[in-house]
């Protein structure tokens, strides 16, 4: 590659929130039963949503495809239970709004779709076949972003991949699902990683784990012995697990602004994803369940659960003994980037890494009505992307679009370190997200208008010729 030379930069920034992982770190992953009905949304990944392949009254089995799409950036969706489709209708989605979902009555028998069979040994398969298998299994990134995995594994020929990084950093406080997988299933995780390496033709593999998980590091080290795969111990610091930060810290390569890891020869995958891929190749299982950390001070028995997709949050919480007191806030994911929920009647989806319930004491803080800044520079110091969050927040608030672009607002990875550290409780990342969305909308609008103008001009020109 030769891309590492001359790019030896030290990435600074990040914050160190209390890890709160001790609530669940020692809890073995426990498989729970799906509830009487599961709700499986047709949008569970970045990219094109799926269209339903079942209708009311259809019988489905575990692993039956119930939604799919022709688009490349998409992944099929399978049933996690056997039973009958009772409804296909919009339902509340944990990522916000209502999304078309198949509601399936669980017959409790978990009969597997007979078409599911382990594929031939992956060692005998061509990369193209592996990718196809990964797509048909509905694999998406299980770290939370839910990017379809087969797309990640299909870099164009111009960008050869030399390194696969297995992201076990799990830098979000509270979450322990990746940690438990590394500890309990190191062989399967490693197997999944080797499948990924074969799919992209990478020779180097690195398992990256934060140094606050020494047991996981040890388990992996024992496991990789002789395989040529390295285990890297990362300094515990949020957002150590962000792709761009990870690549910079491990390989001293910087993903160019607006680019992807493949542009520097790297593919990054989550531990959970590698585990799910391994299970597809050993048992034929598509992605129909995932590990979810159900935690928080108001959860009676915080746990790591293997949860069938489509299981309601409330059911998962009940499986942990319910709440000790009504929570003030329920979050899907970790406290740094997770999404606050207005109801517990939303299903666990492929991107649900955790269900976190906070008490009133933990959830309350005031935000100023107007952005206030005392220019302490903390947000600048902690920004892993080297941006100036306070300016971005202020300019977004004041709608200074050109300044936002000049200060590279699109480079923001929305990790929230700036907001975490701000002494005036300025909602910086929220302002920046809003600014990014508005800029994208404006850009689209401008493009559309330009193409319309061009079409109109061509038309009038044509009319002129005719006349």
């Amino acid at each position: 590659m030769g891309r590492t030379s001359g790019l030896l930069y030290r990435i600074r920034g990040g914050v160190h929130p209390p890890s709160s992982k001790d609530l669940t770190a020692e809890k073995q992953i426990r498989r729970i039963e799906a509830p009487a009905t599961v709700t499986i949304p047709m949008r569970q990944h970045i990219g094109a949503p799926c269209t339903p392949r079942v209708k009311k009254g259809d019988e489905v089995l575990v692993g039956t495809v119930i939604g799919d799409s022709e688009a490349f950036v998409s992944a099929p969706i399978h049933s996690s239970v056997s039973g009958k489709v009772v409804q296909v209708a919009p339902q509340p989605h944990p990522a916000g709004g209502e999304v078309l979902a198949a509601i399936i009555e669980n017959d409790g028998e978990y009969r597997r779709d007979p078409s599911l069979a382990p594929p031939s040994p992956w060692e005998d398969m061509q990369p193209e076949e592996i990718r196809k298998e990964v797509r048909s299994a509905g694999m998406v990134g299980l770290g939370g972003a839910a990017f379809p995995t087969h797309v990640k594994l299909s870099p164009p020929r111009e960008y050869p991949i030399d390194t696969v990084i297995l992201n076990g950093a799990e830098c979000e406080p509270f979450l322990t699902s990746d940690y438990r997988l590394l500890l309990e299933e190191p062989d399967a995780v490693l197997e999944g990683m080797r499948i990924i390496m074969r799919a992209v033709g990478a020779r180097r593999g690195i398992v990256a784990v934060e140094d606050n998980k020494p047991k996981a590091i040890k388990a992996m080290e024992t496991c990789v012995r002789g395989s040529g795969i390295e285990v890297a111990s990362l300094r515990t610091r949020y957002p150590q697990g962000a792709e761009k930060v990870l690549i910079a810290n491990l390989l001293h390569r910087e993903v160019p602004s607006g680019g992807l890891p493949m542009h520097v020869g790297v593919v990054v995958n989550n531990v959970g994803t590698a585990y799910a891929i391994a299970r597809r190749f050993s048992e034929g299982m598509p992605l129909v369940e995932r590990v979810v950390t159900v935690t928080g001070s108001v959860v009676r028995e915080p746990s790591n659960l293997m949860v069938p997709l489509g299981t309601g949050f409330s059911h998962a919480v009940e499986a942990c003994g319910g709440f000790t007191e009504p929570p003030a806030k329920v979050i899907m994911g970790g406290p740094m980037m997770g999404l606050a929920q207005y109801t517990l009647e939303v299903p666990v989806v492929k991107g649900t890494s955790g269900i976190l319930a906070l008490s009133w004491k933990e959830a309350r803080y005031s935000e100023p009505a107007e952005p206030v800044c005392i220019r302490c520079g903390r947000c600048v110091d902690v920004c892993p992307m080297g941006l100036i969050p306070t300016y971005l927040g202020t300019y977004a608030h004041n709608e200074k679009w050109d300044l936002l672009q000049r200060l590279h607002i699109e480079d923001c990875i929305e990790c929230g370190c700036c907001t975490y550290t701000c002494p005036t409780k300025n909602p910086l990342v929220q302002l920046i997200k809003t600014g990014k969305a508005e800029l994208a909308r404006r850009r689209q609008h401008a493009e559309r208008r330009e193409s319309e103008n061009r079409a109109a001009a061509e038309k009038s020109e044509g009319a002129g010729k005719d006349g």
Binding site: L7, Y9, I11, V15, P18, P173, K244, E254, V255, P256, S257, G258, G259, H263, V264, F323, P326, A328, K329, V330, I331, P335, M336, M337, G338, A340, Q341, Y342, T343, L358, A363, Y365, E367, V372, I374, R375, C376, G377, V380, D381, C383, P384, M385, G386, L387, I388, T390, H408, D411, G416, T419, Y420, T421, C422, P423, T424, K425, P427, Q430, K433
Partner: protein
């Protein structure tokens, strides 16, 4: 389940417990030892200066916010800190009303006129001091003379300086102060400061008990400890202070004087630790802070050695404050992914 009550807000859902008031209180705590010690050394007159200055600063904030119908934010302790810092940069024998006017000017002219906390360009405490200094230079000059030097301060070196100050405060006190604090320039002062005094004999009094400077200059050691406390608690970074003091030391040494003496004497330490590091009036980016620190050092050195005014640190900081927007504009943090070659590769 009581679902109607779930809080909806965007991430992050946890916050660092730090807030503006805590930051201000850390700085006040860092200044507490030197303040108490100064009151012991200087006695009641310093206490009046302190109280008047704080009262003026708080009154300024309060009246401006009331007048503009804004919420009154005295509870963030910023006005208290401004008043305290201002008092520490004033002579102990200053009339209390001068200190009060300076405190008022600090928050009214230095802070609220610009829009309040976070919007001011110049350090409010130094604005207050500058206003009082140019309005009543005589009081400032006389304010230093003959403090109640107690036991530990009663050394031969002290007596020498004290004698010089006593005599000098008559005709041209500012110039005499400059002579006293500048042993290598060696001319005989109006009252006959001994020739060839050795700077190193002043290290100990300046570090431990210096009754001739401003209230806060009473002990360089306590100021340094305060600075270490602030860096350790991450309230301030080390860059501005270290590059400021380092630049002054280097330039002093290059021009053939005793750098240690010039670090310990005068307002350099209190300025470098507590004034130059003021958030609002210093650059945001770490690299900008380095440039700012070096700039402060150069200007201080220029003023100390090439001007007739002994107020090198105050004017250096106010001058560099004016340059901060420029520094912030041109010196930004190194952005991740700013890789020309690779960026082009992505585009093609």
């Amino acid at each position: 389940m009581d679902e109607g009550k779930l809080i909806i807000s965007t991430s992050p859902h946890v916050r660092d417990p730090i807030n503006t008031r805590r930051i201000m209180c850390h700085v006040i705590a860092a200044l507490a030892p030197v303040t108490v010690y100064a009151l012991v050394i200087h006695g009641l007159s310093a206490l009046w200066v302190l109280l008047a200055s704080i009262a003026g600063a708080m009154l300024g904030d309060f009246s401006m916010q009331k007048g503009r119908r804004l919420p009154v934010t005295l509870d963030d302790c910023s006005a208290l800190l401004t008043g305290l810092l201002l008092a520490l940069t004033m002579p102990p024998k200053l009339p209390w009303w001068v200190a009060g006017v300076a405190g008022l000017a600090a928050t009214v002219l230095g802070k609220q006129m610009f829009g309040g906390l976070g919007h001011n360009i110049f350090n409010p405490a130094l604005v207050g001091r500058a206003v009082a200094f140019v309005s009543w230079p005589g009081y400032f000059a006389a304010g230093y003379a003959k403090s109640a030097a107690i036991g530990i301060a009663n050394t031969a070196a002290h007596k020498t300086i004290q004698a010089a100050v006593d005599v000098a405060s008559g005709a041209s006190p500012l110039a005499a102060m400059k002579i006293v604090y500048d042993p290598s320039t060696s001319p005989i002062g109006p009252g006959g400061v001994p020739r060839g005094i050795v700077a190193s004999t002043y290290y100990k009094p300046l570090l431990l008990a210096n009754p001739w400077g401003c209230i806060g200059e009473v002990s360089a050691l306590l100021l340094i400890l305060g600075g270490i406390y602030l860096v350790a608690t991450r309230v301030i970074g080390w860059r501005i202070t270290v590059f400021y003091v380092g630049t002054v030391a280097a330039l002093t040494a290059i021009t053939g004087r005793d750098p240690l003496f010039y670090i310990l004497a005068g307002g350099l330490l209190i300025g470098a630790v507590f004034m130059a590091t003021d958030y609002t009036t210093s650059p945001l980016a770490r690299r900008g802070k380095i440039v700012y620190g070096i700039g402060l050092g150069v200007v201080t050195w220029l003023l100390r050695f090439w001007s007739n005014n002994p107020e090198g640190v105050m004017f250096a900081i106010l001058f560099m404050n004016a340059l901060v927007p420029l520094i912030d504009r041109y010196i930004m943090p190194r952005r991740y992914g700013r890789v020309k070659e690779a960026e082009e590769a992505v585009r093609t």
